[in-house]
Amino acid sequence: MNDDAYEGAHLGKSDVVLKTTDLEKAFGGLVATDSVSIEVDRGTITGMIGPNGAGKSTLFNLISGFYENDAGHVTVNGEEVTDLEPHERARKGLVRTFQTPRRLEGMSVREAMLVGPGPQKGESIFSLFFSGSDVTEEERTNIEQTRELLERFEIGHLIDQPSTDLSGGQMKLVELARAFTTNPDILLLDEPVAGVNPTLANDIKRFIRELNEEGQTFLIIEHDMPFIMDLADPIIVLDQGKVLMEGSPDEVRADDRVIEAYLGGAGP
């Protein structure tokens, strides 16, 4: 998880981390995703916005493999992942968070964080009995690294708390941290500040930026306009299952189609 290892691991990889080609998904007669083709460049914080029902969550689910696409392709680092299960895509570097924080019953923040790194030796029962010292070493390393990461995110003091005791915003921070421990090529964040108080939201923004400066690529869905406009570039705009346009925040703000898609109401 340190910077050198991170950069070194990415030498020789393509500039486009994530690419979708003509993704399609329909539910019954309703087309939720209509021939969507996007690209996310390495090292960017790419935003995704669109009015309610535009199909953003559906697209996330298609990209991460939780929905099966009717047609089209998804590639990560140039490698085709369209037929892979969600956990296999995660192993290929495509990691996502969820819109509603998933509180893990009966687990402390520390435990919740420790689920992230992987694959862990201790996840094999065989190793638990025959490679005990390896498991110990890896666990120790992970414990230390999660502690450091939580300290960095200024929630180190919560490490012993049951994860169910955390506020929504704190849980979102934990989720961001945990997703990061998987050492992903791209992090898909699904509304990372929805329902989060402004102070904490600012912290989240700050940490996302910090991680990005160290090389982490993000694709972020958000409804909070000031947040996403300040953070992301480029921004992809979806409407009714199609890509409306893509551009810098200024370009998006000025685009007539975008304004109209938001029905002239609280536009971007």
Partner: protein, 374 residues
């Protein structure tokens, strides 16, 4: 002595509620032992009951791995138990339809292999799907297995059952009853220690995550199907071992116990004891046996008979009512799990002291090595 007392305090008296529970159990134990000395309770009978509790405890531990650790709904507990019992009986009883009269070790081995195989067979179509599919399919499996055992008399002796199953280790200088009770205690200890090791580990952690939110586990790159299958097989094998043990305890088996009610007794043991907690599973088993045997005594009391109430439906009513009440009022059970699932050896010196700061207020607030797995 201080090591023993700290072990005792971590295993049995984490907080006030637990103190009360274990005190009650301790009192009952004293009463039972006193009863033996007073000549009220036969020692052989008591040992048989202990062995029976042990068997139920094994079944509960097995279900706890499936339901408690991984959230798998398995309604075929009785079937896997039956598979184990019949493997043992068929291979070791001289007058069984197979008539092989082998050493009990082979019975146990067969129980393990056959149950693992069938568990995989039923897991393949169901573990990738929603939890209720496993519930339905396992109920179906239970009925199919019962039907096979009942109908294929040439292999299983059908409803006549198999008798003449040999005792375990008759060469030990203890009575049969004492030997059997001792063996189940050893079995429980082995299983318990095994489960403790695999539970407080990355493996156990992933399972608990899967139980809470399988999608999250997948999003983090965990092959949830593989983990669930492992939990399912381990649990089923433990249940079959319990069954094999029962064959050598009761010395006779027939299909009459392979009914769903037996499965639901174990479910009560686990959820009453505390889903996910190994100690809870054992305590729950003890409570369930107490209920079963207690109601059996009631039947012997004259006035119940004059009321003309049949015992079996009353038990059914009680079991059903208990399930409803537990789900409504105390889903946590008596001894819910409170441990952090972290590899114990990694705790030392890394700053993680292991006890979550939640309401598990242990005396003095210290928990030196993370406490016992429940």
């Amino acid at each position: 002595m201080s090591a023993v007392s700290s072990w005792v305090s971590e295993t049995f008296v984490r907080d006030a509620t637990e103190r009360r529970i274990f005190a009650t159990l301790g009192l009952i134990t004293v009463l039972l032992v006193g009863g033996v000395f007073a000549g009220v309770i036969g020692p052989r009978f008591l040992l048989f009951q202990i062995a029976l509790v042990g068997m139920y405890a094994l079944l509960s531990l097995g279900l706890n791995v499936q339901w408690g650790y991984a959230g798998l709904i398995n309604f075929s507990v009785a079937a896997f138990w039956g598979i184990g019992a019949y493997c043992a009986a068929l291979l070791t009883a001289p007058n069984s339809p197979l008539g092989l009269g082998l050493h009990p070790v082979f019975g146990f081995l067969a129980a393990i292999v056959v149950s693992a195989f069938i568990a995989v067979l039923i897991g393949i179509p169901t573990l990738r799907l929603r939890e209720d599919y496993l519930a339905i399919a396992s109920l179906g499996l239970a009925e199919v297995i019962r039907a096979i055992i009942l109908n294929e008399r040439q292999w299983t002796a059908g409803s006549s059952g198999i008798s003449g199953i040999p005792n375990l280790m008759s060469w030990l200088p203890l009575t049969d009853a004492a030997t059997t009770a001792a063996i189940v205690v050893v079995l429980i200890a082995v299983v318990y220690l095994f489960l403790r090791r695999v539970h407080r580990s990355p493996w156990g952690r992933v399972l608990r995550t899967i139980r809470s939110d399988e999608d999250l586990a997948k999003a983090l790159g965990k092959d949830t199907y593989r983990f669930k299958m492992q939990a399912f097989v381990i649990g089923s094998v433990i249940m079959a071992v319990a069954g094999a043990f029962y064959a050598h305890l009761n010395l006779y088996i027939d299909p009459s116990d392979l009914v769903p009610l037996t499965t639901f007794y174990i479910w009560i043991a686990v959820i009453l004891g505390g889903t996910g907690s190994n100690r809870g599973a054992v305590v729950g088993a003890a409570v369930v046996i107490a209920i079963r045997e207690g109601t059996r005594f009631l039947n012997d009391i004259g006035f119940i008979q004059t009321l003309g109430i049949d015992l079996a439906p009353l038990r059914l009513l009680f079991v059903g009512g208990l399930i409803i009440l537990i789900m409504r009022f105390r889903q946590d059970g008596l001894l819910p799990p409170k441990d952090e699932l972290i590899w114990p050896a990694a705790r030392d010196g890394s700053g993680a002291d292991g006890a979550p700061a939640s309401g598990a207020a242990s005396d003095g607030g210290t928990a030196s090595n993370g406490g016992d797995d429940r």
